[in-house]
């Protein structure tokens, strides 16, 4: 009997775990910590458990943990600033704590972002650092608070963290002020769709520039069904599959030869108008009589709401939140 109960318990446990995987990210369930999740589950069955046994973690009060996370990311920011000799200021738009970019690249990116800031009438800041994945969101919130509180950036702020930690490579984006609505969670997902492939391809400079471009674009776009389309030659080449790269020159050669060959020959250019005698030629009778009308109809229900052009399942990250300084924001992140 005990064995049967054990097996039954095991099956239910596995099913519950699988179901948990399909709970959409960004919902309340997804925001539960592992400890919360297991505690709820065990409570339901009236069982006792020791969190430390299951996860190796000690259970902490949520408020305490929140405070500790805040302190942790503050320390990350402080230590990075100390280590690199940088300080937050209003003239710097990219903070490369990781040392990914050269001085020239940084200058170029900075001026690019500055241009996009003017276009979007927002502030755009980029941080490049390494940290745990769980710290990204708090770290950006801390940066946003620090920048806005000190007047180093406007309240309408789009901010991105490029996390280059070896085990946690990813991007996190947040939108504050008007950007919370303009660069909202959905649009952050669209931005991530576009930029992530450039980071995966090790073209960090273009990825950062594309983030600034898209953030500025969405900041000024009132049509929420409209997507940014990167039509630059570079993007087109990047999107081009390799068979096309092989076949395109063949098509060019084929068309070129056809043009070279077909340009010779000559064709008949004389027509009726060449020989017609104007003045004595023309219509002698001309009638257009209405006969009847036929109408058919087909059922075609109107689509409701805006439709997206993007595929792809769900959010990769948990959306927005509120910073320690009380600033509400949109957000999203993705690994690469």
């Amino acid at each position: 009997m005990k064995k049967i109960l054990h097996k039954l318990f095991g099956i239910v446990f596995v099913l519950a775990m699988v179901a948990g995987c399909f709970v959409p990210a960004g919902t309340a369930a997804a925001e539960l910590t592992d400890g919360d999740y297991y505690a709820d589950f065990f409570d339901e069955f009236g069982l006792e458990f020791d969190l430390e046994d299951l996860t190796g973690e000690t259970e902490a009060e949520p408020e305490e943990r929140y405070v500790s996370d805040r302190e942790k990311v503050k320390e990350i920011l402080r230590s990075n600033l100390r280590r690199t000799g940088m300080s937050l200021n209003e003239d710097q738009r990219i903070y490369d704590f990781f040392g990914k970019f050269s001085r020239t690249e940084l200058d170029e990116i900075d001026s690019w972002i500055e241009e996009k800031e003017d276009e979007g009438d927002i502030s755009i800041r980029v941080f490049v650092a390494e940290m745990d994945m769980d710290d990204e969101k708090y770290f950006l919130e801390e940066c946003a608070d620090a920048l806005c509180d000190n007047g180093y950036a406007e309240e309408d702020l789009a901010i991105m963290l490029l996390n280059l930690d070896y085990n946690n490579r990813g991007v996190c984006i947040q939108g504050y002020g008007t950007c919370e609505e303009q660069v909202n969670d959905d649009r952050i997902e669209y931005i991530l769709d576009d930029i992530i492939e450039w980071f995966s391809g090790d073209d960090y400079e273009y990825g950062v520039k594309l983030f600034a471009t898209e953030a500025a674009y969405y900041a000024q776009s009132s049509d929420f069904g409209k997507y940014f389309k990167d039509n630059s030659l570079k993007a087109k080449l990047h999107r081009m599959p390799w068979p096309v790269i092989i076949l395109l020159p063949a098509a060019v050669a084929f068309i070129g030869i056809l043009l070279m060959k077909g340009s010779k020959g000559g064709k008949m250019t004389a027509n009726g108008l060449t020989y017609i005698q104007d003045g004595i030629s023309g219509l002698t009778a001309n009638k257009d009589d209405y006969v009847r009308t036929s109408v058919s109809k087909t059922y075609s229900p109107q689509s409701s709401g805006s439709s997206g052009g993007r595929s792809g399942g769900g959010r990769s990250s948990g959306g927005g939140g509120r910073s320690g300084g009380g600033r509400s924001h949109s957000g999203g992140s993705r690994r690469f």
Partner: protein, 366 residues
Amino acid sequence: MVIDFMCPQCGAGMEYDSEQGKLTCESCGHTQDIEDAPEIDQEETIEVEPFDGSQIPDETELPKEEAFEEKEQNVYTEEQEFFCNSCGAAIVTEPEVSATHCPYCGSAVAFRARLSGEYAPDKVIPFTVSKKEAQDLFRKWAKNGILSPKDFMTEKRLGEITGVYVPFWLYDMNVDAEADCLCSKKRSYRRGDYVYHETKYYHVYRRANLTYHKVPADASVKMDDETMDCLEPYNYGEMKNFSPEYLAGFQAEKYGIDAEGLQSRAKGRAQQYAEKYLADSIKGYATTTYQKKECLVKRAREYYALLPVWTLCYEYKGEKKIYTMNGQTGKIIGKAPVSGSRVAKWAGILYGGSFALLALLTFLLV
């Protein structure tokens, strides 16, 4: 009887100068307006029999019908012999040639027998593109043919271009055309969850009376009909009443197919033109279904005219190609020969170049 074009001042041969529009003597520089050209003195010309009578089989030796057919065949196929007024040499030509050069002294000659009577042309459009201009135009045209063999359009070959007056019948025609058809206009609109497709039908009737002036059809048996059609249009404003002097220095042919024989071709063209005219007059409809389409083509009159054409022959891989140019407008017709090795070379260059460009762009940008 041979018509020659002797200079009244020095006695040398004169030729038609397309730039001046006059007969010009290359020896003394004397020019002569064609309208002022003196009548050919028939007594000074040497008249010869069109062909050797001994070559014609005795009719009595053959049944009547066979003898007639044989004679007809001789008239149109046998080469005939004339004697040059300048040097007295025998000029042997194909039966359709009505003007040429004496192969011995180079004098321009025309054959009255092939330019008079039923073969007397009504009209002529003189050459306005000179030989030098024609060579330049051919050279320029050939330069664009980068797939052509190397020896195409060499200076030597360009020297062989020939100016030919090609015989044409020009028809004046009247067409009474009518079309009766059912046409429709379509539109779609949405009301609620339904899309409505509305089609309105109309009974459309058109009738036209059209007159076409001097529709050409080439009467040469040598020239390709399609090529001659492509050489059109000619500017009839420069058309002149025929005078043999226009032929001086060029080759000319007499017609090989008479006006009756070509009228169906010309009528066919007039009918096509009329149908197109009617079709163009039916506008604003999505569909047109013809229930009746009739064209009654009446031939009003025809002109026998000689029109100017520059020709150039080129033999490539055993195939003889003829390139032609409208001697009035300079329009060139002919497909340049294609060299396989040049195609391969250019395909390689284009493929390699575009691949390298794409690779370079990808390398620099991505």
